[in-house]
Amino acid sequence: MINGVPVQEHYRDASHQFASAKEGIWLFMATEILMFGGLFVGYLIFHMKYPQMFAEGAQFLDWRLGFVNTLVLIFSSLTMALGIYFCQINQPKKAVWALAITILCGAVFMVIKYFEYTHKFHMGIYPGRMLDLEMLNQHLSSIGKPAIASTNLGMYFGFYFCMSGLHGIHVILGMLMISWCLYRCMRGDFNPNYYTAVEGVGIFWHIIDLVWIFLFPLLYLVG
């Protein structure tokens, strides 16, 4: 322990350790970007190929829900950043609150997602081949809308479920990690010299926000 920082043996001092950890985190974030990015590349390519089909698919997404979720995530990003801020200025109590609100926002996001998903399943919308076009068309005719023209609508929802699903998994992982930070924060592990874990998890959480910032127009607004 140096100045309240548990410095591992192979590091010179606390700031050496912090800078190393920080670099590791950024490298990891670059891999996250590339991984999500692969999906975006696929999405863009097929969007160019089948603009009609993508437009037909997007009409089933309620942009209002996406909009609310965007606000929720941005707000959670703010509270996450504040969590780090309060650690920096040595106010762990406030940091705990900020983190707790962040987790709560994550939960709200997931609940909204849950309703979106179940609503889709209800209409027969599943990813890919499992999409029930007949059921969907029945539903459409019952509300007086024209039937689906494209035959491979499943692909749009394949993208939809893969992208938002992978994002959702990240949200859950993020929530778990924030809970761990919260626990450590309550235990008093962190101080202005040592808050690497919160900082790292924070960056991860912002990445989640970042991805969503693009997912929102991409999935909900392309109609």
Partner: protein, 109 residues
């Protein structure tokens, strides 16, 4: 040692609270803007997508620069994170290049 002189200031940069609120405010505003433009999409045609993504890019920048503290981070970390995007662009550009230069079977080049 390579990074002997990492000054404390850079490592634990503390931004004033107000900045966070300002950034968050801007983000909320831009989100409303996105939705606002979405409502007008009938009039904008192809530009609506462009606008939506430009706004998203600005938002992304805000998050990266301030929330993720990248603005005050080391150059090396900026490069690392940036390279993720660059190689992604590479994948995209070349795939598109292939797909849009495929000739039809009757082509005589």
């Amino acid at each position: 040692m390579s990074d002997n002189h990492n000054n404390h200031h850079e490592e634990h940069h503390i931004m004033p609270l107000a900045t966070y609120y300002k950034v968050a405010g801007a983000l909320f505003l831009l989100t409303f803007l996105t939705v606002g433009f979405h409502a007008l999409r009938e009039y904008m045609g192809p530009f609506s997508a462009l606008i939506a993504f430009s706004i998203a890019a600005v938002k992304a920048f805000l998050v990266m620069a301030w929330f993720m503290h990248l603005k005050y981070d080391k150059l090396s970390n900026k490069i690392i994170f940036g390279s993720g995007f660059i190689f992604l662009a590479l994948l995209f550009v070349i795939c598109i290049m292939d797909i849009y230069t495929r000739l039809n079977v009757n082509s005589v080049l």
